[in-house]
Structure formats: structure tokens, C-alpha cells
């Protein structure tokens, strides 16, 4: 597909790849007719939601499919060598010199009982170096991935390193022999955004040093947009669209890509601007064969031809391709749900719903005190959404648990609900208070008892929290499940038979059983695919407008937080760094930490985000830095005062407080420097 002829063979040439898994005696097709090429030095992204077959493709490329998986057709040629024609020894040589792979969860990719040095040196030994030389080269390799103390790290075991460090080690091993092709399969999923940004920067920098071709696999469109020249979109085991990344994301030509991009709250979209679009229906279950287009039953442009005739990958110029009969009309895909909000949001009285003063929590581990949260003052008004952001370990979840009464706060903390004292534990709260504050957890698999039916899951909450019995309970149950758009037929079903999105709807229905005043949403869409996320965000906002409930919304996805939140609270090491209206917090002047968080987000909309990066790891809350706790990583540190004196949380503008020694005007000047554009925010 690439126009110019290259003398050296492509790094990767995949043609008509078919892969099937053998399940209970029959083959289930997982990947069908996938073709793509990656030229020398090029980076290619493979993007798709879970179940689309992207990891299967990756594993097939290194001939490491699970035992029941098998390539049933097509060819894979890496650096001019056909994978199928290789002997065992040749395959081993290919793996040791030509192709490397980095995948999700570095803590499991490293051998827990071997020292780092040994594991890295091994790569050089297999390439033929002597032991001593291999050790030297290993140290250099670690230095190359910007590990500051490579000698020290060599002697450590994997569990002694942080997740980001572990992933650097894995990347060091993968790039050690400068392979022709590096496959990265969700390399930053599960890492904090700040760490993710560092890892991505590192990969990008290394790619300039050594001319390795990249196959980057991710569900995160922003990451792909940042890292890749070209991109392929996978859906249900087929490559439905291919082209230059920028062009595909700005002007998609397949209805699936169009729908997917509409699901994401981009360009600083806010909830008041109308419902997010969604993709109706579900991914076809694996192994189902259809004569027509795989996306036909979810597509708003479907015609008879789509059901009868399987579309080829139509070349549409500029090296692009789309597997849609009507690709020229793809952009006109009708919305699955209307954009307009039915009626204006009800105006809420300005009274305070929940007030927390000097909220703190100290855990003790083996004699040392860990201050998970200290001196947090918060106010929540009815019907508003307060977004809570910060890296892992910043105290987000602890704060949520304190409000819920799952964890008891330290002495000296005070909470009030509707002006009445709110006790520290659920047991000591009144039934009214208990049902007023509920939660939607991140992972519905964990949050729903898998042995109970949907009816029992929701019904029990109705009887315990709303005190309903008999017919009243049955009526309210139906009303509630319908309000979360859950069909009645799911009532007798157990969670295992529901998809992730449906499970989360059950969890939301349960949280709303007792007509709560405040619902804590702890990363409610993080475990879900983008297309499902949009529907859940719509639902949460719909319920908020209807019930006037307030949300404490925790998420690592700043785009989602921005979309849903009225106000935002930024936490670092258990302290509030910034608190204010969403628009003020997300645009300068803001706290340097907020600035760093925002610039870590890989943007889907082009415009390089600013190069503000945090160095090193979040310090241990058992031994927080003196002065401003952020000074050890702060890119805008001004001097000794940051190390000695903790800045106050000053209300710089009405309702907007920043904990920083730098005067507001100075921040405004620093952060208004050219070249920067804030990825989200308007």
C-alpha cells in the first residue's frame, strides 16, 4: 500500500491472516483476512476494543499463540522471512535478533526470582556475547532507557522496582539487540498517566536513536494517535479501516471508526452540550460467521447489500482503505441517540449537601504511619459533580471511603450531611444517612455478587435501603431497572451472563435504590470499552438530571472527568493541591501538578501537549517530603521556600484555590508561554 518502493524488505508484511481458537472440538475464528505492512522505521498502530483480536494478532506474529490457537491461513513475513517456513532454530534466532515484544503488566513479564541484571544480560548472551561483556552491555541498555542508577538496578529483583521502572527494564530488554520490529501490546495500560507519558516519550526517543519499526497495539486512541504514523482499526477480527493516523482520526471512513470516535468526549466536550453518541448493540460473539459485513447489525447505514456481501478493503486513495461498501458516506452515519438534552437541568438550591472539614486518615503499617489523606476540606452541593483526580496513591479512593464510612477518619476530622453530624463508620450512621451516600465501583465483576440474580441484587438494596416489601418492591424494581435501560428479561439472569456495560447498569441501579443524595463513582467506566463508556456516562448524567443527585467522580481519564464535572479537586499525596470550577482548574493559571497531569494526556486531537514531565516516582506517603509535598517532582519549583514551607491552599479567585508558593500572576505568565495548548478544556 505504500507508494514508494523500498529496497530493504518491509519490517513486517502480514497477508490474509486467519486465526482460530479450538473450543470444545470446533474452530472459532478469531481473526479473519487481516493484511497490513510496516515499512522500515515506520510505526503502525493497531487499535480496537476488547475482543477485536488485536492481542491475538500480536501473539501470532511471534508464533506464541495459546495451545488451542492456530494460524489457519495467510502469511506473516518479518524482515523478509516467512514465519511458517522457519525451523525451530531459525525461529529462535528471529526472536533473539529481529523481533521483540513488550506487553501489558511488566510485573508479570519479569521473572520474580532472577535479578534484573541477569535477565537483561541474558538477551546479549543469546546473541552470542560472553558473560562479562553481556553484563556490561546490560548496564548500558538500562542506562539507555534513562534508568538513573543502572548498576544498582542490575542487582535488584523485579518486585523492588515500581511499575514504570519495570516497564523500562522490559523495554531495555526488547530493544537491546536493536530489532527490526518491536511489538508493543498495551505497554502502558495500567500505568498512571504521568508514568505512561514518560514511557511513551522514552519509546519515541529510542525510536529516533535506533531505526526500529513499531507495531503499537492499544485500545487507547490517544496513545495511538501520539505514537503512530499509520493505524489499522480492528473490529471483530477484521481490519475495517487503515490509513495515516491523523487522517483516520480526523476523517474516518468506516462507520465503526466514526461511531467509536463519537463516543469519546473530545475537544473539551461538556455534558451540557448534549448526549454523547454511542454504538448500539454488541460485538458479535466469537465464531459467528456472517455472509455480509461484520458491523452490519450495529451500523446506522446498513443496506441489503451489507448483509449479503462481505465488503473487501476498498482502497480509497492516499494509502487508505475502508472495509465498507459505502465508505464515501461513512461520515454521514446517523447518530444512534439524539444529541439534544430533553429539558434544561433543574436549578438546584445553593445549600450545602455534604461538608468535610480537616479530613484525614492515617494507616499504620508495621510501626510506621502512612498519611493517606490529611487536612482535606470539601463541600458538595446537591446535584453537582465534583471530579477527583490524581495519580494512584494520591488518596482519591481513601477520600471516597471516608465519606462512605467504610474507613474511619482520624481524630479531628468532621463530616456533616445536610448540616447534621455524619459519623465515621456506616454502623454509627442513621439509615437515612447510609442510604444517602452510595457508590458505583470500578469493576462490576467484583461489585456484584456473582451468585445472585439481578433481581436479588437490586431487590435486596430496595428492601434494605428503601424499606420496600411485596408489590411495592416489585413495582419499584421494574421502574428502577427501566430507568437504567436494562431490559426486564435480564432480571432473572446472573452477572456472568451480562456484558460489562450491562453489569455496570445493574450496579448503578443498586446505588440508586435508596434515592441517594450523593453517589461516589470510583472509576465507573475504566473497565469498559469506549463505546460502552459513552452509554454509561450518558446514563449517569441522565440520572443526575432526573434525581438531582450529586456525584463524587473519580477517574484517571481527564477527558471524562472534564466532561462530567462541575468542579474538580486535584489530590497529591493525600493533600488537596487545587480545587475549583472545572473550567478554571483545566486551564491556566493552575497548579504545576495539574499542569503536569494535563500535559501527560496523549491527545487525540493533534497539537502536541506541553512537554511538562514529572521526574521520578510519587514519594512514599509514609515519608512525605518536607515543605510543599510536590517539590521533589515540581517542574516549576522556585527555591528553598518550596522545601521548607508548606504553601497554604489559597483562594486565588472566588471558588478556586491553589496550594502553591508561586503567585497567581506568575503562574499565568509561565503557563501562557507559546507552543502550548491544553489538550482538554476550551
Amino acid at each position: 500500500m505504500s507508494a514508494e518502493a523500498v529496497p530493504a524488505p518491509d519490517a513486517l508484511d502480514v497477508r490474509d491472516l486467519d486465526i482460530a481458537y479450538r473450543v470444545r472440538g470446533s474452530d472459532r475464528s478469531a481473526v479473519r483476512g487481516v493484511s497490513f505492512r510496516i515499512g522500515r522505521g515506520e510505526s503502525f498502530g493497531l487499535v480496537g476494543e476488547s475482543g477485536c483480536g488485536k492481542s491475538t494478532v500480536a501473539l501470532a506474529l511471534v508464533d506464541y499463540l495459546p495451545r488451542n490457537g492456530r494460524v489457519t491461513g495467510g502469511s506473516v513475513v518479518i524482515d523478509g522471512r516467512d514465519l511458517r517456513s522457519l525451523s525451530k532454530g531459525e525461529l529462535r534466532r528471529l526472536r533473539s535478533r529481529t523481533v521483540s515484544m513488550v506487553y501489558q503488566d511488566p510485573s508479570r513479564a519479569l521473572n520474580p526470582s532472577l535479578r534484573i541484571g541477569r535477565q537483561v544480560a541474558e538477551v546479549f548472551e543469546v546473541a552470542g556475547l560472553a558473560r562479562a561483556e553481556a553484563v556490561d552491555r546490560a548496564e548500558q541498555a538500562l542506562a539507555r532507557v534513562r534508568i538513573s542508577d543502572p548498576g544498582g538496578v542490575m542487582g535488584r529483583y523485579p518486585h523492588q522496582l515500581s511499575g514504570g521502572m519495570q516497564q523500562r527494564v522490559v523495554i531495555a530488554m526488547a530493544l537491546a539487540v536493536e530489532p527490526a520490529l518491536l511489538i508493543l501490546d498495551e505497554p502502558t495500560t495500567g500505568l498512571d498517566a504521568t508514568v505512561e507519558a514518560e514511557v511513551l516519550d522514552l519509546v519515541a526517543a529510542l525510536r529516533e536513536e535506533i531505526s526500529t519499526s513499531l507495531l503499537f497495539i492499544s485500545h487507547n486512541l490517544g496513545v495511538i494517535a501520539k505514537m503512530c504514523d499509520r493505524v489499522g482499526v480492528l473490529y471483530a477480527g477484521e481490519l475495517v479501516e487503515e490509513g495515516r493516523a491523523r487522517e483516520v482520526f480526523d476523517d474516518p471512513r468506516h462507520p465503526y471508526t466514526v461511531g467509536l470516535l463519537r463516543c469519546i468526549p473530545r475537544r473539551g466536550r461538556l455534558k451540557d452540550a448534549g448526549w454523547l453518541d454511542t454504538i448500539p448493540g454488541f460485538l458479535p460473539s466469537p465464531g459467528t460467521q456472517s455472509a455480509g459485513c461484520v458491523f452490519a447489525d450495529r451500523c446506522g447505514l446498513v443496506e441489503d447489500r451489507c448483509l449479503a456481501e462481505h465488503p473487501p478493503l476498498y482502497p480509497i486513495g492516499g494509502g487508505r482503505g475502508s472495509r465498507c461498501h459505502f465508505h464515501e458516506r461513512a461520515a454521514s452515519l446517523p447518530r444512534a441517540i439524539p444529541r439534544d438534552l430533553a429539558e434544561p437541568a433543574p436549578a438546584e438550591p445553593g445549600a450545602t449537601l455534604l461538608e468535610a472539614r480537616n479530613l484525614g486518615k492515617t494507616f499504620s503499617f508495621g510501626g510506621s504511619d502512612v498519611h493517606a489523606l490529611s487536612g482535606v476540606d470539601l463541600e458538595l452541593r446537591p446535584g453537582e459533580t465534583l471530579g477527583l483526580v490524581g495519580e494512584s496513591g494520591s488518596g482519591k479512593t481513601t477520600l471516597a471511603r471516608l465519606l462512605l464510612g467504610i474507613v474511619e477518619p482520624d481524630e479531628g476530622s468532621a463530616m456533616e450531611l445536610d448540616g447534621e453530624l455524619l459519623a465515621g463508620t456506616t454502623q454509627r450512621r442513621s439509615t437515612d444517612q447510609v442510604k444517602s451516600i452510595q457508590i458505583v465501583f470500578q469493576n462490576p465483576d467484583s461489585a456484584l455478587n456473582r451468585r445472585h440474580s439481578v433481581r436479588r441484587l437490586i431487590g435486596r438494596s430496595l428492601s434494605k435501603l428503601a424499606g420496600l416489601r411485596g408489590q411495592a418492591l416489585r413495582d419499584r424494581l421494574l421502574e428502577l431497572t427501566r430507568s437504567v435501560r436494562l431490559a426486564d428479561r435480564y432480571l432473572e439472569v446472573r452477572p456472568v451472563q451480562l456484558s460489562g456495560g450491562l453489569k455496570q447498569r445493574v450496579a448503578i441501579a443498586r446505588a440508586f435504590a435508596g434515592n441517594p443524595r450523593l453517589v461516589v463513582c470510583d472509576e465507573p467506566t475504566s473497565a469498559l470499552d469506549v463505546s460502552v463508556q459513552a452509554a454509561i456516562l450518558n446514563l449517569l448524567y441522565e440520572l443526575q438530571r432526573k434525581e438531582g443527585v450529586a456525584y463524587l467522580f473519580i477517574s484517571h481519564d481527564l477527558g471524562v472527568v472534564r466532561y462530567l464535572s462541575d468542579r474538580i479537586c486535584v489530590l497529591y499525596l493525600g493533600r488537596v493541591m487545587e480545587l475549583g470550577p472545572a473550567a478554571s482548574v483545566f486551564s491556566p493559571p493552575h497548579h504545576p501538578y495539574t499542569e503536569a497531569l494535563l500535559s501527560a494526556v496523549p491527545s487525540l486531537d493533534g497539537g502536541e501537549s506541553d512537554r511538562i514531565r514529572l521526574d521520578g516516582e510519587i514519594p512514599s506517603p509514609a515519608d512525605p517530603p518536607s515543605g510543599c509535598v510536590f517539590h521533589t517532582r515540581c517542574p516549576r519549583k522556585i527555591g528553598a521556600i518550596c522545601e521548607t514551607t508548606e504553601p497554604p491552599l489559597d483562594e486565588s479567585e472566588p471558588g478556586h484555590a491553589i496550594r502553591c508558593h508561586i503567585p497567581l500572576e506568575e503562574l499565568r505568565r509561565l503557563q501562557a508561554e507559546p507552543t502550548r495548548s491544553v489538550p482538554v478544556g476550551d
Partner: protein
């Protein structure tokens, strides 16, 4: 360590209560139902069992701590020499059993795991399962009939003639050692297999394979290093299990070990002897567990060195 001591103390209370409290009147138990009450009372007084329970326990415990295990009802002699001789005999038998079983079991388990799903794996697994399932006396019967009667190549009596050479001693121990170790063999084999299968499927093994390492290196350096660690721990804790088998095997093949001692003491209602024997077994077990814990900590870097976070 502290926990082991607490456990040991609770064990001593349980053993004491079972031995002193449950059987009722020891004097009556020894002298039988026809003896005169006066003789029973006198004997009870001699034995000290008419004192309050706490006093009895205290005397018993302090005695044990000073190395005085008490006096046997049956032999009317100090118990300690009986215990040391029996324990030494049992250790010999257990050592022979252990040395035969452990390397073979680990080898079989690893072999099965490396060929998972094949006929090799399936036959090894079935053998392992059967070995695990059979009570010692059942496999003992089979082996005794085959090797002791039909083939007549191994002696049925585990006690060698006096003054026998070490080789002869071992020769006499082979037949009892096999049933003693079969259950353990099955157990260790299955542990080794499961651990190796899990390690083969682990991500770090994938990393190693994708580095292009030869399979032998992957298995040796990456798989076995992780899979045999839990197995080694299991081996040590299973010493306790082996002692349970001793009761049966020593009884079957007429061998004067700690198992036979406990069994005889129980049958003749020689409670001081029974208590001392049972307590000895508990101590041996706890020591083995302690060794297992320590070796696991030493071998596992995760426990030896703290984490970064």
C-alpha cells in the same frame, strides 16, 4: 518462631487433656475392673493423679522441660530411653523413604508438566493419583505379597538381625519404606507438576521464550526456579505426614519406631508413654515446618528482601 512455641504449648495442653482427663481413673484403667478400690486409690496417689488438674499439668510440663518424660504404666520405667530409641529408628526409616521418594517425585512431576496433555503426562498423572490415594497398609499388602511372598526378594521383617551391616539394615528397610513414601510421592509429584505447568504459562516464561533463549535454558533458569520453590516447602511440611504413615508401616513390618511405640501405648492404655510419643511427633512436625518456612524465605527474594513500595 514465637508462633511455633505458642502452638506447641496449646498442643501440650491438648495432649495432656486427652491423655489425663478423658480416660477417667488411671489406677482403675491399669489395675482393671476387678481390683480393690483401695489399691486403685493407692496407685492413683503414687501416680499423682489425685492432685488438682492444674498441679498435674504443671508437674507434667516442668518434668518434660527438664527432660523427664515420666514413667511408663506398662514397663514401670522412665519413658525417655524408649522414645529416643524409637525416634532414632524411625528417622532411619524415614530417611530411606525420603531419599527414595523426593528426587523421583520431582522428576516425574516436571516430566509430566513439560509434556502436558501427552500420554506421558497422563500416565504419570494416573500413577501419581493412585499413589496419593492408596492407604499405606493397602500398598503395603500389595508390595508384601508381590516382593515378599510371590517373588520372595525382600524381607517382610523390617528389623534386621543384630549386628547387621548398614547395607543389610537398608535392605530390610526397603519394603516398609515404599508404602510409607508412596502417598508423599503422589503428593509431591502433583505439586511439582502443577507448579511447573503454572510457570510454563506465566508471562515471564513468554518473555524468556521471546528473547530467543533455547528451551533448555528457559526451563532451567526461568521455569524450574519458580516452580520448584513451593514444592520444596511442601516437601518439608510433609515430614509430618510421613510420621502418620509410620504408625501403620512400623506396625505392619514389625519395626520398633515412634509410630509403633505410640500404637502400642494406645492399645495398652499406657497414657504417659502415649502423651510423650504424641508430643514428640508434634515437636518433630513443628521443627520441620519451621525449617520449611526458613528455607522458603531464604529461597524467595520477595520475602528475603523487602519491596520498593
Amino acid at each position: 518462631m514465637g508462633l511455633a512455641l505458642i502452638t506447641l504449648w496449646i498442643l501440650s495442653v491438648i495432649v495432656f487433656l486427652a491423655g489425663q482427663l478423658l480416660p477417667g481413673d488411671p489406677g482403675r484403667a491399669i489395675l482393671g475392673p476387678l481390683a480393690e478400690q483401695r489399691a486403685v486409690t493407692t496407685l492413683d496417689h503414687q501416680l499423682g493423679v489425685d492432685k488438682p488438674l492444674i498441679t498435674q499439668y504443671w508437674n507434667w510440663l516442668t518434668g518434660i522441660l527438664h527432660g523427664d518424660l515420666g514413667t511408663s504404666y506398662t514397663y514401670q520405667q522412665p519413658i525417655r530411653p524408649f522414645i529416643t530409641t524409637a525416634l532414632w529408628n524411625s528417622l532411619k526409616l524415614a530417611a530411606v523413604a525420603f531419599l527414595m521418594c523426593v528426587p523421583l517425585a520431582i522428576l516425574a512431576g516436571v516430566l509430566a508438566a513439560l509434556n502436558v496433555g501427552s500420554w506421558k503426562d497422563r500416565s504419570i498423572s494416573v500413577v501419581g493419583l493412585s499413589a496419593l490415594a492408596l492407604p499405606e497398609f493397602v500398598s503395603g499388602v500389595f508390595l508384601a505379597i508381590i516382593f515378599g511372598i510371590w517373588l520372595n526378594v525382600l524381607p517382610l521383617d523390617a528389623t534386621p538381625p543384630p549386628g547387621a551391616s548398614p547395607a543389610t539394615v537398608v535392605y530390610h528397610l526397603i519394603l516398609p519404606a515404599i508404602p510409607l513414601t508412596l502417598v508423599l510421592f503422589g503428593y509431591i509429584m502433583r505439586m511439582a507438576r502443577a507448579g511447573t505447568v503454572a510457570a510454563l504459562e506465566a508471562d515471564y516464561t513468554r518473555t524468556a521464550v521471546l528473547k530467543g533463549l533455547p528451551r533448555s535454558t528457559v526451563v532451567r533458569r526461568h521455569v524450574l526456579r519458580n516452580s520448584l520453590l513451593p514444592t520444596i516447602t511442601v516437601v518439608a511440611t510433609q515430614v509430618g505426614y510421613l510420621i502418620g504413615g509410620l504408625v501403620v508401616v512400623e506396625n505392619m513390618f514389625h519395626y520398633q519406631g515412634i509410630g509403633a511405640l505410640v500404637f502400642t501405648a494406645a492399645n495398652s492404655k499406657d497414657f504417659p508413654m502415649l502423651e510423650a510419643g504424641v508430643l514428640t511427633i508434634g515437636v518433630v512436625y513443628l521443627l520441620a515446618t519451621l525449617v520449611a518456612d526458613i528455607s522458603y524465605t531464604l529461597l524467595n527474594p520477595r520475602l528475603r528482601l523487602g519491596g520498593a513500595e
